[in-house]
Symmetry: C2
Subunit: 237 residues, 2 copies
């Protein structure tokens, strides 16, 4: 295993750490690939590492006993997986897995504990991140409860775009319908609407963002609040 240099790290949380804090974690860091559908956190199964996402998209999915499921959180290069460990829990009922392949830097939980016990600034950084995750959860609830499909679809595409940083995104209608918890043909219909407004261009297995501003306009208040809070607390680049 080769040393991971600060300059080579894309993750925004690791980037926001002070030099000393980074160096404390550095010996435990390991780079891993995350192919599609890799499970980072299995429901009710203990995890030993924190995953700082470098690229790709992970999502947190909540599921009920009668097998209803929906995506409730989005994690990319701005975040980490395993927040429950930061809250000193061994397990969580929610599942986290890769929706778009990518990579991450893992750090053993114990090392992160040592950091947050010693370094109040690092502790606050991670705690503030947990808070932005809560905000994202709250806005998922709000979006699902009060916004229609076009708005939610726009929100999802925008959140994905933030994390992939490429106008071309490999997404199928089927996949989006699972994420949003709606039926697949509804996604098709509403993608046509978005395409009719020239906000996107959809081809087989692929969606290209054509006019991000328009997409934000369509999403309205459904998108943006958690993102602004992240920038305020963690800092934009």
């Amino acid at each position: 295993m080769q040393d991971i240099k600060r300059a080579d790290v894309r993750n925004r949380l690791l980037g926001a750490l002070g030099t000393q804090a980074f160096e404390l974690l550095q010996p435990g860091m390991e780079r891993i690939d995350l192919p599609l559908r890799t499970v980072l956190v299995e429901s009710d199964q203990p995890t030993s590492h924190i995953f700082f996402i470098e690229s790709g998209l992970a999502s947190i999915v909540a599921r009920t006993v009668d097998d209803e499921a929906i995506e409730v959180g989005h994690i990319g290069w701005e975040g980490l997986c395993g927040t429950h460990r930061l809250l000193r829990l061994e397990t969580t009922p929610n599942r986290t897995f890769m929706q778009i392949d990518g990579s991450a830097i893992t750090v053993p939980v114990e090392l992160v504990y040592r950091l947050i016990d010693e370094d109040a600034a690092a502790r606050d950084l991670f705690f503030h991140y947990i808070h932005t995750c809560e905000l994202q959860l709250a806005h998922s609830a709000l979006a699902n409860g009060r916004y229609n499909m076009s708005e939610r679809l726009s929100r999802w595409l925008l959140m994905c775009h933030d994390r992939i940083r490429d106008d071309d995104m490999a997404l199928t209608h089927e996949f989006l319908s699972l994420m949003l918890g709606v039926r697949r043909s509804g996604v098709t219909d509403h993608l046509h609407i978005l395409e009719g407004m020239h906000a996107i261009k959809a081809t087989r297995g692929r969606i290209r963002i054509r006019d991000r501003a328009k997409l934000e306009e369509i999403a309205g208040g459904c998108y943006g609040a958690p993102e602004r809070e992240y920038d305020r607390l963690i800092g934009s680049r």
Copy 2:
């Protein structure tokens, strides 16, 4: 101000604290009444105290710039208001206010900080509580996205019943529609359905739980997971 004795405290979090931990907070405790609509946490306004709810019902409401709002969290005698302070934040965009009047014990934030810095068990207790709140948020998103109105209405009534501990609850259709983020007349229709199944009895401005088991059956997987996790982590009485 009069000393608050351990035996007089109903709040489950305070009850779960060790004797020493309780005694550390005790000098800062103050009992306050919380009439209907009292704001405990104002959006983006700093708060100086943690509120340990003793009775009544507080709810966390998320709101967007285009004035859509919905309840995303329920807090009663099992919880506390001001979790963002535990995550070392001054403010949060979400509003928390009383939906059913009650009372609380307040403790200055600094005193709570001292406790969690000194006492790992107390720290873990509060962090685990934050985790159950996140779970509640996730399940609000799930409920809004995947369950219909009867199920969500049942869920809400059950969560309220857990916290009020009285079969008679003062609730109007209008109020419930605001909580669930749906049309008021839809609430009326679905209350009739629940009443037709003899799960509840609705009279003007009042709903009586008649058959809690039936209500749980109607709610299905929509209700219960966060509550079970709370009992597992914080402990049932």
